[in-house]
């Protein structure tokens, strides 16, 4: 797929949602990944897991629906869909860590060509680290998708030969959805599947990694 324009956040979320197969069990990380839910239709039969102990999570709650005992991993009030179930934290993380989720979608500071992920800590002195379930999610799901802008604010690429930020997990990322391209992280190579408002040749100049043209 090629497109005339760079994707905005909503466009990235729509693309990820379209790639989630029917019937999949999915965990959407805090931040940008959460917005993927807006593009999943009830007919698609995708079931959302939230690591604080629920399968079958519904949309954000509003008004009288808000229940202080029912939140997502970002501590935002949510709703319950028919067929939902609740479980405690050890059971919830056993579900993640045991490889039962089909897909998790995470944000990232950096992803390496080998699929290493850095998304929990800037590593700057003075920054207080917080990891939450990021390390469990990255390793636990059958597939880990990352959503991020390809370039950091300073223009440096976030898809890198080797992560310089502290690692979340080694070799866990299988796909990277960015505003400029979708990358498939395969054993020994990174394939560009789609480009948005750019070309494969331009991507090669932006990213300090050998790329394979799969557009």
């Amino acid at each position: 797929m090629t497109s005339t324009g760079r994707l905005d956040r909503d466009g990235m979320a729509r693309l990820v949602a379209a790639d989630i197969p029917r019937g999949a069990f999915v965990n959407l990380g805090i931040g940008l990944p959460t917005t993927v839910a807006n593009h999943l239709s009830p007919e698609g039969g995708v079931t959302l897991h939230t690591e604080n102990g629920m399968l079958g999570m519904g949309p954000e709650a509003h008004g009288d629906e808000v229940d202080p005992d029912l939140t997502n991993a970002g501590k935002v009030p949510v709703t319950e869909l028919p067929g939902a179930s609740y479980f405690h934290h050890a059971d919830s993380f056993a579900m993640m860590r045991g490889g039962h989720l089909d897909i998790c979608v995470l944000g990232a500071y950096q992803v390496s060509g080998a699929g290493d992920l850095a998304n929990w800590h800037t590593g700057k002195p003075g920054d207080i680290p917080a990891v939450g379930g990021a390390m469990d999610l990255a390793l636990g799901a059958k597939q880990t998708f990352v959503m991020m802008n390809l370039l950091a604010r300073d223009g440096s690429p976030k898809l890198v030969p080797e992560c310089t930020y502290p690692l979340t997990a080694l070799g866990c990322v299988s796909r990277v959805y960015t505003d400029l391209a979708v990358f498939l992280v395969e054993p020994g190579r990174v394939v560009v599947r789609d480009v948005f408002g750019t070309t494969f040749t331009e991507l090669e100049s932006l990213v300090d990694l050998p790329l394979v043209d799969g557009t």
């Binding site: 939230t50 690591e51 604080n52 102990g53 629920m54 009288d64 629906e65 808000v66 229940d67 202080p68 005992d69 029912l70 939140t71 501590k75 319950e80 609740y86 479980f87 405690h88 934290h89 050890a90 919830s92 993380f93 056993a94 993640m96 860590r97 800590h121 003075g126 207080i128 680290p129 917080a130 990891v131 939450g132 379930g133 990021a134 390390m135 469990d136 390793l139 636990g140 502290p166 690692l167 979340t168 997990a169 080694l170």
Partner: protein, 234 residues
């Protein structure tokens, strides 16, 4: 082995000693035993090690324990949040130790303490700075880290309902850490919305069997739950 029904939260937390390790349930506000935490603050206990997913936010609950320097160490997965100013200040001042634990390792280590597991190997954290200094091993071609149980002297848990024996049920995602923390502490103290007669809870639906519960105290909810789901039974 005998259940105590406490008259109020202060009575419920009485006897918690300085230097104790306290497991505190909740994920954000859901399942947070707010009245027990307030009572712990009033009790004066200090030099505490706190094991909890978060390290407090705003100007109440755990954040006040941190502010008052009653906690010397926090074991948690997510201390930093938009309103964790008391944690941030104490940590930056070097007056609060932090053991940062991936959330799944935190849950599994607490479960291991309750289940009599001496230690376990997990892939989570392998190759990261959170595994530095820890023993590792390759199992089936995958790197694993050896993790040890986290035990508490006391667990402070919030459940929805108890029966008079101390059997517990929870509400929705407020269940979170309560059931595993209840198994992992020498003394489990539980705040509930209501206490029902023995036999009022369906035996198939009890989440925490009474064997894990030492003290129960009933506290009316301060917050509002939607009327169609506030039901008394299960």
């Amino acid at each position: 082995m005998t259940l105590t029904m406490a008259g109020d939260p202060l009575e419920a937390v009485a006897g918690i000693e300085d230097g104790s390790t306290i497991l505190v349930g909740g994920f954000g506000a859901a399942g947070e035993p707010v009245d027990l935490i307030d009572a712990l603050l009033h009790s004066g206990a200090k030099d505490l090690t706190l094991v909890s997913n978060n390290a407090g936010g705003g100007d109440g609950g755990i954040a006040l324990l941190v502010k008052e320097r009653r906690i010397r160490k926090v074991v948690c997965s997510f201390p930093r949040q938009f309103n964790s100013w008391h944690f941030d200040a104490a940590y930056r001042a070097g007056e609060l130790a932090l053991e940062l634990v991936p959330q799944g390792n935190l849950a599994e280590r607490i479960r291991a303490a309750g289940a009599g597991i001496g230690a376990f190997y997990t892939p989570t954290g392998y190759g990261t700075m959170l595994a530095e200094g820890k023993e590792t091993r390759e199992i089936d071609g995958r790197g694993h880290v050896l993790e040890y149980p986290i035990r508490g002297d006391v667990a402070l848990v919030r459940a929805h309902l108890a029966d008079e024996l101390g059997n517990l049920v929870y509400r929705k995602t407020a269940r979170n850490f309560g059931p595993i923390m209840a198994t992992a502490a020498a003394r489990t103290i539980v705040q509930v919305d209501d206490i029902l007669p023995v036999g009022a809870l369906d035996p198939e639906t009890i989440v925490t069997p009474c064997i894990y519960v030492d003290v129960v105290v009933r506290v009316d909810r301060h917050d509002k739950v939607p009327s169609d789901s506030a039901g008394g039974g299960q």
